[in-house]
């Protein structure tokens, strides 16, 4: 079943245009609960209340405020906020193309698949060119009254646009100093390296399941049938009270046996 595009835009590389449709690549599976009143189990309604009068304030009557550091609030009216909004546009402007590795994963926020919008030739030509050159584009666009910055990439032969966090929103490790101390023991380093090698494999994302979520759903299903779940807890591994070198050696032996 094909999903509906959430937005349509045009990738703009200088004078070259590639029309695209945008689809969310994420489908959150969080178990969502409703808040209920204990006792009558009535779903609760949220209201915004003036704490001084305890009166509800209707959404349309609310205003917005920016709290300053000196304990004041600067009130911003709807028309002032409207004036700050970006001009609506279909343009996804590519400002530069950098090596894929130049965009650190920590900037990535949300991924969107791009699909061709009537021009498959241009779409797959751009995907092929990006893959060949191992480049990612930096894009800016306005979607639903908000400004976005994103990385245009190729994944599985398709174009993907990943929104990026804004400047200042990622703490760089460059400004931090690593913990120091005496030089590490060569033998321990070597054993640790062997242990990592013994545990190294492919990244197989399908192998990992949100087991907690599955247990929550099991509980809900059991309760729906009027049953209770038997108490089951994960095993606890005994803590190792030995030296780093001993622990490494034992781990290595265990890893080799398992392999």
């Amino acid at each position: 079943m094909a999903a509906r595009a959430m937005w349509k835009g045009v990738l703009q590389l200088g004078t070259t245009e590639v029309p695209v449709k945008l689809y969310s690549a994420v489908e959150p599976r969080k178990v969502s609960f409703r808040l209920l009143h204990e006792g009558d189990e009535e779903p609760l309604r949220q209201r915004m209340v003036d704490p001084e009068t305890d009166e509800e304030v209707e959404y349309d009557a609310t205003r917005r405020g920016y709290p300053t550091d000196d304990g004041r609030i600067v009130i911003l009216d709807a028309d002032e906020l409207d004036a700050l909004e970006p001009e609506p546009s279909r343009e996804i402007a590519l400002t530069r193309f950098v090596p894929v590795s130049a965009i650190d994963a920590r900037w990535y926020d949300r991924p969107y698949w791009l699909g061709p919008d009537d021009d498959e030739e241009a779409y797959f030509a751009l995907a092929a060119a990006l893959a060949e050159n191992e480049r990612a584009g930096v894009a800016r666009w306005v979607m639903r009254k908000k400004e976005y910055v994103g990385a245009l990439r190729v994944e599985d032969g398709y174009l993907m646009l990943v929104t990026l966090r804004h400047a200042g929103e990622v703490v760089s490790a460059d400004a931090l100093e690593a913990p120091g101390g005496r030089a590490l023991d060569e033998r321990e380093l070597k054993m640790a390296e062997q242990l990592v090698a013994a545990l190294t494999g492919e990244f197989e994302p399908e192998q990992y399941k949100d087991e907690y979520r599955e247990r929550v759903m099991e509980l809900i299903e059991a309760k729906a049938k009027g049953k209770t779940l038997p108490k089951k807890r994960a095993r606890r591994k005994t803590a190792a009270g030995e030296s780093l070198a001993d622990a490494l050696e034992k781990s290595l032996r265990a890893a080799r046996q398992a392999a």
Partner: protein, 326 residues
């Protein structure tokens, strides 16, 4: 009582506590760590106000009884497809958490560049705790030397996370990853079968790409222009005194106490560990250093509007905590 983010954020701490503390286990080697967010919140978080400018509070009402419900009388419910509501208590949810919620068990290492962009969710720094300095440095050194990332799942705050641990310049950081079933494939979305483009068309695209080729990403390109415009307007209005009201004390957002100067806290956590070389004789937790604290309160004393500066959030939080304790 229902737990939510605001409960977590309302801790009255003058300094940023670790978001989570636990142990990375790597074979039989244990590395106690503290986890701190590596992402800062958005620069602008507007408050909702009454027409008179009073910050509004979120309250819960029972629509049947037309009255407010206290937090202690709130429970969680899951709505079944047939409309029935199943009540789930905090105790029941806690019992579902694995006993080893404090463990990040690294059982798989992968090439650090093997994880697709779409998996990455949020970033955290891991700092050595409880004197784990040596084991921490060993793990970081080995992962960096071999170009590997460690993969694990763990439960934090009633949610299970898939994480990738990376070592960079001797520092460990964790990125939460999306689970595979939370990602849609091109087929799920209904993208057409890839068509083989004509070489001439690819060449034309390459030319367009090359015209915009740069070696690096400039952070300046990621600037939040809307926040720039909004802060400029706020500063103008704050200077003229027009449309400004005093923040009522009780209305101060508790959520802000989490936005202390992250950098200072991280530096301290990494440094605190550096002072201890013997991994066994270490105290449980490095105490907050007085010097660092004093500095932030003196900053709070100098009144200035919350300008574009990120560091200013530190002043606001320590001021708030001062006010609370006085």
């Amino acid at each position: 009582m229902a737990k939510d983010e605001s409960d977590v954020a309302s801790e009255e701490t003058p300094r940023l506590r670790p978001f989570w503390s636990g142990t990375i286990s790597f074979g039989l080697v244990s590395v106690p760590v503290d986890l701190y967010p590596a992402n800062r919140p958005k620069r602008v978080a507007l408050r909702m106000l009454s027409p008179e400018g009073t910050p509004l509070a979120r309250r819960y009402f029972d629509p049947e009884e037309e009255r407010e419900v206290e937090r202690d009388d709130i429970v969680r419910g899951f709505e079944l497809d047939d409309g029935r509501m199943i009540v789930v208590t905090d105790e029941e949810l806690e019992a579902l958490e694995p006993a080893k919620t404090r463990d990040i068990d690294l059982r798989r290492f992968v090439p650090a560049d093997a994880i697709d962009a779409r998996f990455f969710d949020r970033g955290y720094f891991l700092t050595p705790a409880e004197g784990s300095n040596k084991a921490y440095r060993l793990l970081a050194a080995v992962m960096e030397n071999t170009g590997r990332a460690g993969i694990a799942t763990f439960v934090m705050r009633a949610k299970e996370y898939l994480i990738a641990i990376f070592a960079e310049k001797g520092i460990l950081r964790a990125e939460t990853l999306r689970f595979a079933d939370e990602l849609r494939s091109p087929e799920d979305v209904g993208l057409p079968e890839p068509a083989k483009p004509k070489p001439a068309a690819v060449k034309q695209m390459t030319t367009a790409i090359n015209k915009l080729k740069k070696a690096e990403l400039a952070e300046n390109e990621l600037r939040d222009e809307w926040a720039d415009r909004l802060i400029a307007l706020v500063e103008k209005k704050a200077k003229s005194g027009k449309d400004t009201v005093d923040m009522p004390e009780e209305a101060e957002a508790p959520a802000d106490s989490d936005i202390i100067d992250l950098m200072a806290v991280l530096k301290r956590s990494l440094e605190g560990a550096k002072e201890r070389t013997d991994e066994r004789a270490a105290p449980k937790r490095a105490p907050a250093r007085k010097g660092a604290r004093k500095k932030s309160s003196s900053k709070a004393a100098s009144k200035r509007p919350k300008a574009a500066s990120k560091a200013s959030s530190k002043a606001s939080s320590s001021k708030r905590s001062n006010r609370r304790t006085s």
